[in-house]
Each structure stands twice: as C-alpha cells, then as structure tokens.
Symmetry: C2
Subunit: 463 residues, 2 copies
C-alpha cells in the first residue's frame, strides 16, 4: 500500500471524472421553489445515492421527508472518534429571466475555466468538492481521522423546511460532533472566507386589493385608491430614504451591536467600497448609515423588496387601474433578532399603514423563517478549517459575518449543540440566484483539496 | 317606395344579422398595443371595407398610415348640407390575465343578454351600432339630412398616434362639420351620458437600475440600494397618502377650476358614492380631497401607476436583489393642462428624487400624449344628440365630464374646428380594458336606434 497514491495525487488524477460527475448532477433541474420539479429532484436524489456509493461511501440512502428527499451516506471506520457531518444541498434556485442566460441553465458546460449552469456554485459544485476530498481518502485507503456522515438536502432554497423534522426522526443516524458546510463565497481568489455567523431570514408576501376587478384608469382614475399607488406608499414607509434604516417600530430592539474590537477586525478586511462597486456594478454603494460596508453585509439587518408586480407589465401601455398589487418582502436578521418577533412587528406596522380604502393580506409560507446564528471562532473545528486553507490555498482565511441565511446552522446547533464550519469555494460574481451561474474550475478542485487538508489538520486541533 | 319599411323597422328586422356581423368583427384579435397583431389588424380592416360596402356605403377604402390602417366610406347624397363624420376604432386592448377570462376573448358569443368578448363595448359594438343606424337609412332609401363620412381607425388604444397625419394628408376626404363618436359609457341603463369633455393622458415608463446584474439578497443586501425599494420611495413621493393630491411641483398650475354652477350641476347627477362602491367593489372610495366623486371623475387630474414589476414575481421566494425595477405612470389631465408641460414637471421631479446610488430612465413612447379637450354643450350638434336620446331611450342624457381620454377629440377640433359629439352605449361594468368584456345586446341595438333618432333630430337644430 505504501506506493499507492495519496489523496492529493488521487484528486489530481481524477479531475476530469470529478467535473463530468458534477455536470451530470447539474443536468437535473432541481428547482425546489416552484413545485414543478418533484420528479427531477427525486431523480437527482437517486443519482446521488448511486454516486455516493461510487465515491466509496457506505449506507448511501434516500431519507424521505414530507417534502423533497435528502440523501445520506457514511464512512464510519474509526469507532470512538468524533463524527464530522458533511452537509450540502442539491436543490437550486429557479432559472427565470431566460433571456439573460447566455448558456442554458441545465445543460452545463466547462468553458473558459468555469463550469457554467444553475447550481454550479450554489451548491452542487461546492458540496461535490467536499465529497471528492473525503472520497480521495477512501479510494486511496488513507485512514480518516474522524468518522464522516454525509447529508445532502433537497430543500435548502426553500429554507430547509423539513430539516428540523429530519434531524429529529433520524437523530441517531445524523448525530455528529461537528458539521462542515461549503455553501458560501470567498471574497476573491486570494481571500478565502470562513463564516462565523449567518443572518436570519424573514419573508412575507404582501397583497393589496382595491377594486374587485381591474378598472379602466380613465373612467375610474380618481374614484378609488389604486392598489399600486397604495403599495408603493406602504413599501416606502418601511425604509428611510436617507439613512436606509428600517422604519418598522422596534426592528432594531434585539440587534446585538458588534464591539469595537470586532468592528476593527472586520474593517481591516479587504471588504472595501471599491470592491463593493466592482462586484455589483452599482453607481454607488448604499446602506444603513453609521456602518461600513464590511459591517453592513453580515452584522446589520436589512429589508429588501425582492419582488413586486401589479397592473399591466407587458410592452406598451394599457389603461388599467388594477384590482391588486403584490410585493415580496425579505428581511435579513442578525443575532438576537427573532423571526417571529420581527414578523409580528412588520405585520402590525403594515396593517397600521394600510388605508381603509384597500384590503391587505400578508402571506407567510409555513416554515419559511430562518433564525440568525453565530459560531464560536475559537472552536478547534474552525481552527483546523483555517489552517487547512493555508495548506490548500496558501492563504489565511478571513473570519467574517455572512450576509446570507442558512437555516441548517441554527438547526444543527439547536439539535446537536455542535459547531458548524463554513468554508466557501465560490466567488462573489458566480451568479448565485442570478442568471449565468458558474463556478471556477480551479476553485472547484481546490475545494476538494481543502477537504483533504481539513482531514489532515483536524487531529492537531482535536487532539 | 311609400310602403317600404322605415329605418327603425329595418333595424328591428335585421337584429340577428347585426349581431352576427359584430361577432365576425370581434373574432379578429386587433390588439394594437403589443405589435404582434399586424396581420390580424390588416385582415380586420379588409373585412370592414367589405362590410361598409355591404351596409350600403360608397367609396369604402383602407386609408394607410405609418402604423395600422384606418377605414373610410361615405354616403354623400345631399350636396350643400353639412358633413357628419362617424368615428370609431376597431383596435382593442390586450386580453392578458388569461386565467380571469371565463369565455375566450376572441371567440365571442351572445349569452345571457350580453355579447361577450374583447372589443364588445370598446369600441367594436359601439361604432357598429352607429353604422347600423346610418345603414338603416341607406337600405330603406330614407333620405339623410346630412352627408355622412365614416372613419374607423386602428390605433385608438395606442393614442391615435397617426390620426393627426391622416387628418392632414386626407384633409379633403375627411373634412367635416361635426364628428359623432360612440366610445364611452352610460351611467347605468337609465342614465345615458353625453360627454362634454375628455381628460388628457400623459404616460411614461420609469426604470430604476441599481446593480448591473441581479444579486443574492443575502450576500449583497445592505451593500447597495435595491431598485425596488428606491422605486417604491420615488413613486410614493408622487401622491400624498392623505389628500391624494399629486405632489409633482406645479402639477395643478394650469387646472381650470369648475365654477360653482357647474359643480352644482355635476353634483346633482346620480354619480353617488354608493354607485361608485357598487361599480368598483372597492372597500371605500378615495380621491383628491375637497372634491366629490362626480367632480373627481372627469374634472380633476389624476396620477395612477398602471403597471409595476421588479425582482422575482413567480410563486414562492427567491432571494434576489434585482438589477432593475419598472413602473408605468399614467396621468389624466384636464383643461388647460398640457401634456408636454406636465411631463416635463414629472421628469424634473423624478430625476430630483432619484438617489445617486441608482440610474433612472424615463421612456416616453412617441406620440403617446393626448391633450384634454372640452366641448361646447350649447352646440346644436349636441342639442340634437340630447333630444335623440329622449326619442331612442326615453331618457334625457346627462352632460358629463369624461374620465377617459380620446386624442381624436382634440385632433378633430384642432384640424377642422368642429364639434365632437360623444354619446355612449356601454355600461360601466362592461369590462373595458379588463377581463370578460361584454356589451348588453339591447343597448347595442339601442345605439343604432339612437343614430336613427339623431339623424331625425338634426334638421331641427341645424336648420
């Protein structure tokens, strides 16, 4: 066995296979948000079971939920040693805005150094990288320092609605000592990031109804309130146009302010305004006054209208005074804000804002809240992850507060009381949740190398 | 000839044929607003030429424009007598919101006393009624007291963009002494209306662009302004939420206030709040403070957002901070507001409202303004029209200020200096510009009888 290749050599020699497996998985349009892809998701789960077996894992199986299935597998060969759970999600965001996709979202290709297609970075490419790293140990017969459990869920993009139930019903199978999840971004190619918190997420749909049917805007304009006009006023009241503070009474009550040391640490990171402009292409940055960009992104809560529609939205003009108008309101929360508390404050505020000339409906989808969660940066599991980046990427990672939301963090913390380690192999311009999603091919392979390094560094930290 | 039937007898005996001709015309999806129906519109124009010939008119022909064609015909048999131009439009509004149409929009049927389908009331049913009235004279050999010219245009729903050119290039053929146009509504079955003014119409599309592509609302929320949040604030600034006054500086500068006598006259009409609630189904009426419903509808200007879109508008949630957001802004104007002046004031206001964190584009479609126009209620042409209603409907019509816009009024007034007479045979719940458009069958036939009565009453007024 001494002449057998090590895990890194194995990874280097199986790159083509790793890429083609990722492309295979990306061909399943596993869109979990719109309900039309149940069969695609099921097919992808079955493909994953076979793939996990092929990678060398044992006990690969589908775990049913009341929604879309998760997939699990194990490699438990060191009894008495801790269990590391490798988490990922195989569901993806919708690929709407068809016209903006230069390449088709579900016919992925490798081109110009990128893997192109929906899910490349979020999250198929990232969790496949972790699995490839573990598989390199298994396939080369290299002993692992921990036991590994795999959990790939199919509902992350719909807020992991059944993950809580699954951790409950499969507690024995999924119990672990730490979780590693790669579902986030590097700051740029030279600045890897480990997240030490995630924002919470509260989401609600607001419908304003005025007249019972669409009316002619000439005949009836001036007679009744136009629900779009009313909606615009209600939404405008949610955020101050100058300070960008959220104006919902009590919104900031439970926000933990960062201490000065943490602010200094964050502000010494390369998250500069120039970087923000370069990444977004916005004419100017904007956000809550009194906070730097680096502070705003992960440590301050936000309110964004992520969708709005009403009246005639086709080409040209139509003289319509519509019956209804809709908005999707998304709030990102930070410790110790609670989803329920903030939603209740928003609900009360919106109902108070609504004039009696319209009716207002607020629709929450069951289980759609995600609490904010913070990790202890002093955890040995995070220390090892940090050192692993120096080995694999030659860079010390930044420990940053993440802007996105991952219900799984709070759920694993809550169920098993374990640390969640969040490296990231994506880039900010990967187009997650946007058209033309992609993942850098090199960073995909580097992700697997990071996993190999993590398994190497862990023993020093865990003892 | 003495035993030949009169025009009314003729109408009574040709009702079935009149209905089936209207249904034939309604089968052409003559949607002028979205550019996809050029061939349907052309086919309808050709059908109309044949139909006008069939009705007995002479010189029926297509009049080409740089856009969609108009159709003309004449019955000029009393040299030296005035020329009355019968105006109508055969183009229709889009039939979007497919799911709300109970019957298909372009497969019209007669059912439950209504003709159902797009264009039934706006305007195919109404102008066909006028033509049937004239045709009843022609077909029965009854001498007409005036010469009649017909002009049916194909671009009314796109603001009659080429009508001005047509009145110029075909000035000889289309010159007239008065225009009669039936493209409006009765208050209810017992209250016919003749409009004595129409509101103007200004329309613009507003696009707010923030980041250059859609971004993840978690990763980037709080970094840049969200164009939907900004758009909501800009739109909210256009109208006071309490007084419903339009807040564009100078917006009301040129509005002619009605004198007390005219206010009293209008307020004695049966345009009550109860009627407004019944027609709209809104929880409560709303409009500019200080004015009654009857005053607001036709005599006060308005600002309505008639379409809005941005971000993710499908089912469920998508965590997107969008690149752009759009709104369609429609303003109804009253004498002596000018479209150009008000548009310039809006433009200046919106550009001043836009923060430097976004870019803003205002898109006007060429020729889309329509000036407000008032008619002299003392005109003999209107006096005859009023008396005709007593004959045909047994009711004295209300002379009201119309809420809608008809560029043709200002264009005929401007080109030929002639009165425009505006009876209406539709009902407020006909669903013009909304799903399930319809026209009452009886009122369709009554419209033809009104035209017969109008031709009878005209000599008394014109001398």
């Amino acid at each position: 066995m001494a002449d057998d290749p090590g895990p890194l050599t194995y990874l280097a020699s199986t790159r083509a296979r790793a890429e083609s497996s990722l492309l295979e998985l990306m061909r399943f349009p596993t869109v979990s948000t719109d309900g039309a892809h149940g069969e695609d998701i099921r097919n992808a789960a079955e493909w994953l079971v076979a793939h996990l077996q092929h990678l060398g894992f044992e006990s690969a199986a589908i775990l049913e939920t009341e929604g879309y299935p998760a997939v699990t597998a194990t490699w438990h060969k060191v009894p008495g040693r801790p269990v590391l759970l490798v988490y990922g999600h195989y569901d993806v965001q919708p690929a709407d805005n068809e016209k903006e996709w230069i390449l088709p979202p579900f016919a992925p290709v490798v081109e110009d150094g990128f893997i192109w297609g929906r899910g490349a970075s979020d999250d198929k490419g990232q969790f496949m990288a972790l699995l490839n790293g573990v598989s390199a140990y298994i396939q080369t017969g290299t002993p692992l320092p921990v036991n590994v459990t795999v959990l790939i869920e199919g509902e992350e993009e719909i807020n992991s609605v059944h993950l809580s139930d699954l951790l409950e019903s499969e507690a024995e199978r999924l119990s672990c000592d730490a979780v590693v999840a790669a579902d986030s971004l590097m700051l740029d190619r030279n600045h890897p990031v480990i997240l030490i918190s995630v924002r919470g997420h509260a989401f609600v749909e607001l419908t304003v109804t005025g007249p019972q049917t669409d009316l002619h805007s000439g005949t009836f304009g001036g007679s009744v309130d136009n629900p779009i006009n009313v909606l615009a006023r209600m939404l405008a009241a949610l955020q101050d146009g100058t300070t960008r503070k959220v104006l919902i009474p009590g919104f900031y009550d439970d926000v933990i302010e960062l201490d000065q040391a943490e602010r200094d640490r964050i502000n010494s990171s390369p998250i500069t305004d120039e970087l923000g402009i370069a990444l977004t292409g916005a004419p100017e940055l904007a956000g809550e006054s009194g906070y730097t960009l680096a502070e705003r992104v992960g440590s301050r809560p936000t309110l964004d209208i992520v969708g709005i529609t009403g009246g005639y939205t086709g080409a040209g003009k139509k003289s319509v005074l519509p019956s209804t108008a809709h908005a999707k309101i998304s709030m990102r929360l930070v410790p110790q804000q609670s989803v329920e508390d903030v939603m209740e404050k928003l609900r009360r505020f919106l109902l108070a804002l609504a004039p009696s000339t319209v009716s207002v409906a607020l629709t929450e989808q069951a289980g759609f809240g995600s609490p904010p969660a913070a990790m202890d940066p002093a955890s040995p599991w995070i220390g090892a992850a940090s050192l692993a980046y120096e080995v694999s990427h030659g860079e010390t990672p930044l420990l940053l507060h993440g802007g996105g939301s991952e219900p799984m963090v709070g759920l694993f913390q809550g169920r098993f009381g374990v640390p969640v380690v969040m490296p990231g192999f994506g880039l900010p311009d990967d187009g997650n949740h946007a058209p033309n999603e992609r993942m850098d091919v090199e960073l995909f392979h580097k992700g697997a190398e990071w996993m190999v390094a993590y398994l190497e560094t862990l023993p020093q930290f865990l003892g």
